[in-house]
């Protein structure tokens, strides 16, 4: 039930009997088995009609649309997702209680710093000297306890992320110059990859939240309404180092993505269609990787970790039991 299908061609998406069919502009027909699909990721220019929407709705399949600029444009979510007034009430209660909101905001930042640190340590052990960055991240984590409000927690996150991003230029090969985070639109290849990867993480978190009765617009670290699904931003923060950044390093360092895979115009630098294909394919393979879960006593996929994170948060909100953020344990 958890496969993502990516559509890169331009053309028409339609219902054909009991499946979804893509008819490309040159008349080629491709079939997307919808039975085991979690979501369709649409990167090309496609037409579709209401008949397709109802069909996807019946099968509980979301459609995430990717466009220009920062890549993610929006999602069309099936109405059949779970809804629960009770869950929404508890979500808002936690938001409205400054102590609880700050507690959750800190957890998201703490988890995210931990996962950044894991990546830094990995490269620190492989011929780089990032000891001072590890130390900065540890300081940030310490300072987090003194953050008195959500803005301060956000500030700690920003400091940590700046330190973390400072290692990128040392890890990436010649030709890939980062020089700090720029987005909307990204200004160079590295920023473009981060934007694209993070938007894939974000869309997958949106799908994971949909599987619970959580409202994706009520968030804790980010301000609700900052973007439409701000809760997805909170949760995505935890997974970006695992899902996006490591993949970028791997693809670029192994030469699977070169600077030829980008289109540069004025102040923007965006992945070409073939670059997006390469990245998405590798991203899907990453989502399917598994790890032994210490409490569930079985192997779970990286993609399922997103779902579990939504469950954990929901459980905290509804039962008051402690929420511990995802921190890479392997």
């Amino acid at each position: 039930m958890d496969r993502n299908y990516h559509v890169f061609s331009d053309g028409r998406l339609e219902r054909n009997n009991d499946t979804v069919r893509l008819v490309t502009e040159d008349g080629e027909k491709k079939y997307l088995p919808v039975e085991n699909a979690e979501a369709l990721f649409v990167h090309g220019q496609v037409d579709y009609n209401t008949r397709l929407m109802s069909f996807l709705d019946d099968h509980g399949v979301a459609m995430h649309v990717f466009g220009w600029g920062d890549y993610y444009s929006g999602s069309i979510m099936p109405k059949r997702g779970q809804t629960s007034g009770q869950t929404l009430v508890e979500q808002v209660r936690a938001y409205d209680d400054p102590e609880r909101r700050l507690g959750l905001a800190r957890k998201f930042v703490a988890g995210s710093i931990h996962n950044m640190r894991t990546n830094v340590k990995y490269y620190d052990n492989r011929g780089h000297d990032f000891a001072s960055i590890v130390e900065t991240l540890e300081d940030c984590r310490g300072n987090l306890d003194e953050a008195d409000d959500v803005d301060e927690a956000m500030g700690v996150e920003a400091t940590a992320r700046r330190a973390y991003y400072s290692i990128f230029d040392a890890i990436l090969p010649e030709g890939f110059v980062f020089g700090g985070r720029q987005y909307n639109p990204p200004n160079n290849e590295v920023n473009s990859l981060i934007s694209f990867g993070n938007s894939l993480v974000y869309a997958n978190v949106v799908s994971a939240i949909r599987a619970t009765a959580l409202d994706p617009a009520v968030s804790y670290l980010h301000e609700p309404g900052e973007r439409r699904y701000s809760l997805a931003l909170d949760i995505a923060e935890l997974f970006k180092p695992l899902l996006t950044d490591r993949l970028i390093f791997r693809l670029v360092n192994r030469g699977q993505l070169s600077t030829d895979e980008f289109e540069t115009e004025l102040n923007s630098c965006l992945l070409t269609e073939s670059g997006r294909k390469t990245f998405s394919k590798a991203f899907e393979e990453t989502l399917e990787e598994t790890v032994e879960h210490p409490n569930l006593k079985r192997k779970v996929s990286y993609q399922y970790l997103l779902r579990l994170e939504a469950y954990k948060l929901k459980k905290h909100l509804l039962t008051g039991e402690n929420y511990e953020p995802f921190e890479r344990w392997w």
């Binding site: 779970q82 599987a211 009765a213 879960h293 409490n295 569930l296 779902r307 954990k312 039962t319 511990e324």
Partner: protein, 157 residues
């Protein structure tokens, strides 16, 4: 359903009382619903009484409870006894019941004896105590945890 959950897992009972939705894709849930929907289709009628309980009555007048397997028999029996108790003490009709495991072609008759009625009354008090708690009873590992729809919810921590 409350009686059944009280006997199986108090934490699950608490979740249920708060409408904390289970994972509808869970194979055990899908199977249970399927077995229940597909058996005695022609011979039973569903009744909703006082908006509190919903039960199935067979053509011969017996109250029916279907279990997809013979595991967790006692909880299903308690649930059925509760229906019989409710009919007898609240509605004022005396009925007998039948507990059916269609996949194993087994049926068992259930009667509301004095002893059984006392068991139901104890359970009603127990259920009330659980569902009025602020937070759920802590997770406790049981042999059937792994097949529960709340398994990942309880243990992903």
């Amino acid at each position: 359903m409350m009686m059944q959950y009280y006997e199986v897992c108090e934490r699950e009972l608490w979740f249920l009382s708060r409408n904390i939705e289970i994972d509808r894709e869970n194979p055990a849930v899908v199977r249970g619903t399927h077995v229940d929907d597909e058996t005695y289709e022609e011979k039973r009628r569903n009744f909703s009484i006082d908006g509190t309980i919903s039960l199935d009555v067979l053509d011969d007048g017996q109250v029916l409870e279907v279990k997809p397997s013979s595991s967790l028999v006692e909880p299903a029996k308690l649930q059925l006894l509760y229906y019989l108790w409710y009919l007898d003490r609240v509605v004022g009709v005396e009925k007998s019941g039948v507990l059916a495991h269609p996949t194993e072609r087994k049926r068992e008759s259930v009667e509301l004896t004095d002893e059984n009625a006392a068991r139901v009354e104890d359970a009603i008090r127990g259920v009330h105590e659980i569902v009025t708690r602020e937070s759920p009873p802590p997770a406790e590992e049981k042999p059937f945890c792994e097949s529960c729809a709340y398994y990942d919810f309880c243990w992903s921590c």
